[in-house]
Amino acid sequence: MAVTDVTPNGAGGDDDQAPRVALLNNPEIRGWIFQIVLAILIVYLVYAGWSNMNANLQAAGIASGWAFLGNNAGFAISQSLIEYSQASSSYGRVYVIGLLNTLIIAFFGIIFATIIGFLMGVARLSKNWLVSRLATVYVEALRNIPLLLQIFIWYFGVLRLLPQPRQGFDFGFLGLLNNRGYFAPKPVWGDGAEFTLYAFIIACIAAWALGRWARARQMATGQTFPAFWTGFGMIVFLPLAVFVITGSPLSWDIPVMGGFRPSGGMTVIPEFIAMLVALAMYTAAFIAEIVRAGILAVSRGQTEAANALGLRSGPTLRLVVIPQALRIIIPPLTSQYLNLTKNSSLAVAIAYPELTSVFAGTALNQTGQAVEIISLTMLTYLTISLLTSLFMNWYNSRVALVER
């Protein structure tokens, strides 16, 4: 089989003088063909696997399909950020509630873990012997005990520590604390409350603009401006002024003790408290190590140079060391945030109603639709993780070293 191509059409002054080959032997085209064949194969496999699974489910007499999401769930959930009634709410709503409960524990968990982690990381490097030793003990103890165990310790610790509702702490206006949770007063906004909100938003924007202006001026003229405190003052006092002018449109729904437990107000259930403490403390131990490594990676010369310029140790840390350390800290920090979010699914062990517990647990059991529910749950965790990564990558690209 001869592959010599003698057709005249390709004869024009091509750069590559390689002899013309049959299409199939052209590496580029061949590559494409393989890609396409593989893609078709994968699509077919997924499709065939899926339909085979459905056929098997049908043959085994197991219900399938998504219609169950509209059915009435009928069980109670101990914490829901949105309206939920066991009399009429659907499995779809259970999914949303579980998701929100996962997100809220992850959100607060990440905030607290970051704060504690940074403090501990810096403390480990402290020149104060006791402080650095304590931080070391913290890190070594917490990251070496399995998380599930810590969750149980916190949960049963919290339960044993807090008194029964009738003997509970009563902080008056600040609410009630007992082993059914923390019952906080709930703000009830009246007419005109939206103006306070608008004032708050306007103050935030103004503070941000002020910060930019102050920075630009400092760059240009070297003059500093107390932008932080001015902005802070605006954010506090502008809404406050509007609030007072509009006639203080706010009242409080203060919880009162009922027959078994307090009613009214907002409830923070003990499961949430225990889970939050466990997740934050555990993840903080890892973050502390990341922070320590990040700070150590900034060469001493930087600190010495800053000192030589006359910066005191506070500004040195804040303006010289931490910005450079952040570049090293952020990528591994992202993994810790993802871990924390996924670890929140352990909450099922202590009855905190997050996604795995109420949806992949209770709802799955009541409906028996394992394939649908588990796929949806996996997809949800995947999405949360990808979004977190996306955000952290964006932030990382902002703080990353810009070569000038």
Partner: protein
Amino acid sequence: MKKLILTSALGAAAVAFAGSAAFAATLDDVKAKGFVQCGVSQGLPGFSNPDADGNWSGLDVDLCRGVAAAIFGDGEAVKFTPLSAKERFTALQSGEIDVLSRNTTWTMSRDTQLGLNFAGVNYYDGQGFMVRTSMNINSALELSGASVCTNTGTTTELNVADYFRANNMEYELVAFEKADEVVAAYDAGRCDVYTTDQSGLYAQRLKLTDPGEHKVLPEIISKEPLGPVVRQGDDQWFNLVKWVHIATVNAEELGVTQANVDEMMAGDNPSVKRLLGSEGEFGSAIGLENDWGANVIKAVGNYGEIFDRNVGPDTPLGIARGVNALWSKGGLMYGPPIR
């Protein structure tokens, strides 16, 4: 590289395309491997509970031992898989276990939507409430506003919702996956009420720090017929499990006990002889020897013996026969005739 792709593609295909026929003849599989794989609870005294050496005992365990005895003539030819309420149906559907005998309530949706079949009822139960004696509560109707601890993935969760809604009462549900955590949380004071099947309340009460300080309220708010479950679509296995239970009930009715099996076999009551296999051909139809019934009773005794040994008045649970007495004694236990 190409090889890698090919192998992984084949691997994926193998997983996705595994036929559904694998579960067809459970009895053949069981005979081939030499034991029955039985799904039980993670520890519920009286029903399925391991001792310090890992030996399982209980009413639900005896059902599995009965099945093993019918097949192998040996009540020990069983392996147990402890399952949480949440895991149990998946374990059965996926073929991890051969029979589920784990205080499981027979409901219509479980029977019709999960690809499973209930092979009878070996304990008629109902849901109850347990509270601290010190709270001075005498009726479930006084529980409005209470915090209620229970297991997820159970009928309990739904019944309690119905009950509180029907009586216009508020409550907070705290639902754990594992029964041990429910007990611990209730014991630690997280809840005012612990609710589950009444038999379960008596059993779990034994695990509390001070069982004497807790009492079970009189209300029974649901019907909880508990029984063994098998996969749908294997009628032979379904029949086998069903008739093992029936055999124990009929044995009690006919006065056949663990001690007198051989004697009764030689006697002249035709019903007894059919049960024990000394007359008729009742084994081959379910793939067994004709003396399967005799083997069951030799291994675990009749239903009355099973009940008394595991949950009866002389056990720590101290449960009276009540509705679980024979039909001829005013209860619900009724075995269709073997003929």
